[in-house]
């Protein structure tokens, strides 16, 4: 039996006086790869930030439950220790923080071999990168891959990846897809946030997010068809009325 790892019910969140998530409900099955697609500004990153409990995203109505635990009021690290992990759309830069320390920050195994192994899984040469800093001297794509390496080392039960393909070249994207397979193999549940069809194809199930709520869900083919054919040209005309 598939069991739910993340259950979201009627999630509503306002930012700057605007309703960004609007009675959003979704359910993720454990061990599967899910995708949330939707146009720019639909609320995809907001959804991930809210599940992770980032500052500014903690006040909402509705419920968010992870493995049955209500997440409301929990800090980011408490959520991480429950098993939630996240890769940012635009990863942070850290002055002077070494790549190795960063990769191992959430790992139980603190060995250099572990860091090297995770770097190789995202196709970066440990010899070239382990001693560098996770700062602005890395390209955007390198930082994203290093962040993914840190996620592999952390091995969370749920990984939210916000636009894993942004700033990534075609070859590197294949390695990122390999890493997603590795996560799947470890039993992690993956939530891919994207507006790319190529990324969407990696998923088992997809949700279409528009104007802060889920407009449709189902198999990847169905959502792809709807997203490309009707959603993108729709110009948000299907915005729901206020109230759940």
């Amino acid at each position: 039996m598939d069991r739910s790892i993340l259950e979201i019910d009627d999630l509503t969140l306002e930012l700057g006086g605007r309703r960004i998530l609007d009675c959003l409900s979704l359910d993720l099955w454990e061990g599967h790869v899910h995708a949330v697609v939707g146009p720019n500004g639909a609320g995809k990153s907001t959804l991930a930030n809210t599940v992770m409990g980032l500052s500014g995203y903690r006040e909402y109505t509705g419920t968010v439950k992870f493995l049955g635990n209500d997440l409301y009021g929990l800090s980011v690290d408490q959520r991480a220790r429950l098993g939630i992990g996240m890769a940012w759309q635009e990863p942070a830069r850290f002055r002077g923080l070494g790549v190795e320390d960063f990769i191992l920050s959430g790992s139980e195994d603190k060995s250099a071999e572990k860091a090297a192994d995770c770097l190789m899984k995202v196709d970066l040469d440990p010899e070239k990168y382990l001693d560098r800093a996770v700062d602005g001297t890395l390209s955007g794509g390198e930082r994203k891959r290093i962040e993914l390496a840190s996620i592999l080392a952390q091995a969370p039960r749920l990984v939210m990846m916000d636009e894993p393909d942004s700033g990534i070249d075609v070859e590197a994207l294949k390695r990122i897809f390999d890493a997603i397979s590795v996560l799947r193999g470890m039993g992690s549940t993956v939530l891919l946030i994207t507006h790319s069809m190529t990324v969407l194809e990696q998923a088992d199930h997809a949700f279409l997010l528009c104007c802060g709520s889920i407009q449709d869900k189902g198999g990847v083919e169905k959502i792809t068809e709807f997203y490309a054919g009707r959603c993108i040209p729709c110009d948000h005309k299907n915005r729901p009325e206020e109230g759940c």
Partner: protein, 318 residues
């Protein structure tokens, strides 16, 4: 205590053993006594003991390239005392050397350490100078380094000041540099302050030659009731001179940080920038690490450790 015992104690406080390799030049000065001096070809040192310190002339001969870093070790093992060092450094044309200077006052209760250095870099020479301090946990030390650096045409000078072990105590740094055409200057300070430490850094670089470049970087973390005041100045006077002043200070508890970057340009083809950020750690950095399961305190410590590591170097904008 015998000389060799003092030398051993100085290196021990740095977490190191005595230097034994014949290829590595070193000099050890405890208080006003030169305890050890070992030279390599191309390096000339003349040291004169004075009442409360040592005056040293250091010369890297023209064209000499000293392969391994020269180790200088200054310090006082007792709880009280004064050490005044006067140093004249001359780096000959096209010469190259790196110096690691360790200043250790591991038991200081009431210690004064003064350093007056004049460094002259000949054309095309390269000199890098790392000064790292180990102080007592009680912070009973006042450190007053004064340096004047004169960079010849095409010379390069990299200085890195590190105060991370023990308490800074009272630290009052004044560095000044003048850069001739096509020379490159980098001065970097990494300091952690706690208790009632007082940290003052005044650095000034004058980019007087065309195509000269200068970067002054300060990374500081203060906590408890420590206090840091950074005034770094770059003045660019020539075409294509490029400068950048960069200051990052993380403040915790009841500490205070102040930064006053001064940038001054007197030539229309020169360009100088500055960047300063003071206060809490960046929330995105913090939350990224907390999303790996680190507590807020653990994440903050890790961010500060990165900031204070020698890995970070600011760069001039082109």
């Amino acid at each position: 205590m015998g000389d060799s015992e003092l030398v051993r104690k100085m290196y021990e406080s740095l977490g190191e053993g005595c230097i034994t390799s014949p290829g590595v030049a070193h000099i050890e000065i405890h208080g006003n006594t030169v305890l050890g001096l070992h030279l390599v070809p191309g390096l000339v040192v003349e040291a004169e003991e004075r009442e409360d310190g040592v005056r040293a002339m250091v010369r890297i001969e023209h064209g000499a390239r000293i392969e391994k870093p020269v180790n200088m070790c200054f310090g006082l093992i007792p709880e009280k005392g004064v050490q005044r060092i006067e140093m004249d450094v001359e780096v000959g044309e096209d010469a190259a050397a790196a110096v690691v200077s360790s200043c250790t006052f591991p038991n200081a209760v009431d210690v004064l350490h003064e350093m007056q250095a004049v460094v002259r870099l000949g054309p095309g020479s390269e000199y890098s100078y790392l000064e790292r301090h180990v102080h007592s946990p009680g912070g009973g030390v006042k450190v007053v380094p004064r340096s004047f650096v004169d960079l010849g045409e095409g010379a390069s000078f990299m200085a890195d000041f590190e105060m991370l072990r023990g308490r800074a105590g009272e630290l009052d740094i004044v560095y000044e540099a003048v850069c001739a055409a096509s020379s490159v200057l980098e001065m970097n300070a990494r300091i952690s302050g706690s208790g009632d430490d007082r940290i003052r850094i005044h650095e000034k670089a004058t980019l007087s030659g065309e195509h000269s470049r200068g970067v002054l970087t300060t990374n500081i973390a203060v906590r408890d009731s420590a206090w840091a005041d950074i005034r770094n100045t770059i003045r660019a006077e020539a075409a294509y001179a490029r400068g950048h002043v960069d200051c990052r200070e993380i403040v915790r508890d009841g500490a205070t940080a102040r930064a006053v970057p001064v940038i001054e340009v007197t030539h229309p083809l020169a360009h100088v920038t500055h960047e300063a950020a003071l206060g809490s750690v960046d929330s995105k950095q913090l939350e990224t690490l907390m999303a790996r399961g680190l507590t807020e305190d653990e994440a903050t410590d890790m961010i500060i450790a990165g900031l204070l590591s020698p890995r970070y170097k600011a760069e001039v904008t082109r």
